[in-house]
């Protein structure tokens, strides 16, 4: 039940983020859409690592079976990389705005 609702949210977030990335014309809005979509992807993996009544993958922390540690370890680095690439993308947006005076993707594609 828990992981099912989280999986549903993950799929919905990914779709919502993709929608925003396609429909929104401002580059920063596209990045915000990417943010939400990547959150969906991360949540997808975390939800897959969970099972009913699971405890965190730490030895001796409560009863019950442990959640899978591998997807959690993978998304840990994904979050950090997301921050780094986001900073790079925003730096590119800053440079573009300085040179072209617009953040509208359609106008940027014109020339």
């Amino acid at each position: 039940m828990e992981s099912l609702s989280a999986l549903a949210l993950a799929v919905a977030s990914a779709a919502l983020g993709m929608w925003a990335m396609v429909v929104r014309r401002n580059l920063v809005w596209k990045l915000l859409g990417l943010n939400v979509a990547s959150g969906g992807g991360i949540l997808f993996l975390v939800a897959l690592s969970h099972r009913t009544g699971a405890r965190p993958p730490i030895v001796g922390l409560g009863p019950g079976p442990a959640a899978d540690a591998l997807p959690q370890a993978l998304v840990l680095t994904a979050i950090v990389i997301h921050f780094a690439t986001l900073a790079l993308a925003l730096a590119l947006v800053i440079v573009l705005t300085e040179h072209r005076h617009t953040q509208d993707s359609r106008k940027l594609e014109e020339r």
Partner: protein, 271 residues
């Protein structure tokens, strides 16, 4: 149960954030969405991921967006000076329109950059999108190819008669429609004033504030001024393609008016 609630909340926040018009709201919405996701990870038995998401997704990412917004969201204002509305006071810029623009920039989290250009150049810059806002005593003219905000300060057109000769007006201003067949158009009001004092034109059509400025500078002492019919209002010129800016400017001005600050500002600057 907790996970279902948090999922619903996170989805609601994501929808809220991505359907806003103002970028600031989007950034704040996505930040809070990240925080809710962190709580959800905690419920899903992933405390490491939750801690990382809270520290990076909520903390650093939001900061980096806000800083980038300040740098990219520069609000370029192209303007020509007109005394109580927008003028340079030593190193500083002051005036009613400047104060409104400063408040608007703070309201939408952007920085102001002002460039002084002649009136005709303002229109070109605003139309091409190189400047976001045209300011400095703009009287709306439907043939300009730009859109205008709501009118701020009412004014009238004035016909200044100094001697015989053709009529002069500033290009693009509504006064230009009063020109006869031999009328002359000028790039901005200072050129018009110079031409009038040199006798190149005998009459000039301008607005009440400009005329008052000329009077206080004692430029044309013997001139006779007649008010022309019809009321005009000073407004800001905006790029017609920038719907986002137009909507947020209208929202901001509406808010300012509702709180009564607009009339207070006008009273303070215009007396």
């Amino acid at each position: 149960m907790m996970a279902v609630l948090l999922s619903a909340l996170a989805f609601g926040l994501a929808v809220f954030a991505l359907t806003r018009k103002r970028l600031l709201w989007g950034v704040i919405g996505v930040g809070v969405h990240s925080l809710v996701l962190a709580a959800l990870y905690l419920v899903l038995a992933a405390p490491d991921v939750a801690l990382t998401e809270a520290a990076i997704g909520f903390g650093l990412v939001t900061f980096v967006y806000l800083l980038a917004l300040r740098r990219t969201g520069k609000l370029v204002v192209a303007a020509s000076p007109l005394y109580p509305l927008l003028y340079a006071e030593g190193e500083r810029v002051a005036g009613l329109e400047w104060e409104i623009l400063e408040r608007f920039a703070r309201w939408c989290h952007r920085d102001l950059e002002l460039i002084w250009v002649p009136r005709a150049e303002i229109l070109r810059l605003v139309r091409s999108g190189e400047a976001h806002v045209g300011a400095g005593g703009f009287l709306p003219n439907p043939h300009d190819g730009v859109v205008y905000t709501q009118g701020l300060v009412p004014t009238r057109l004035v016909r200044v008669r100094l001697g015989g000769g053709p009529i002069g007006a500033v290009v693009g201003e509504p006064g230009a429609s009063w020109l006869g067949s031999d009328g002359k158009l000028f790039e901005d009001a200072d050129e018009l004033a110079r031409a009038l004092s040199r006798g190149e034109v005998g009459e000039a059509v301008t607005d009440l504030l400009r005329w008052r400025e000329w009077e206080t500078r004692d430029l044309f002492s013997g001139a006779e001024a007649t008010l022309l019919p019809g009321e005009h209002r000073f407004a800001f010129a905006l790029n017609p393609e920038d719907e986002e800016l137009r909507e947020s400017f209208a929202e901001f001005l509406g808010e300012l008016e509702r709180r009564g600050e607009l009339s207070e500002l006008i009273r303070r600057h215009l007396g």
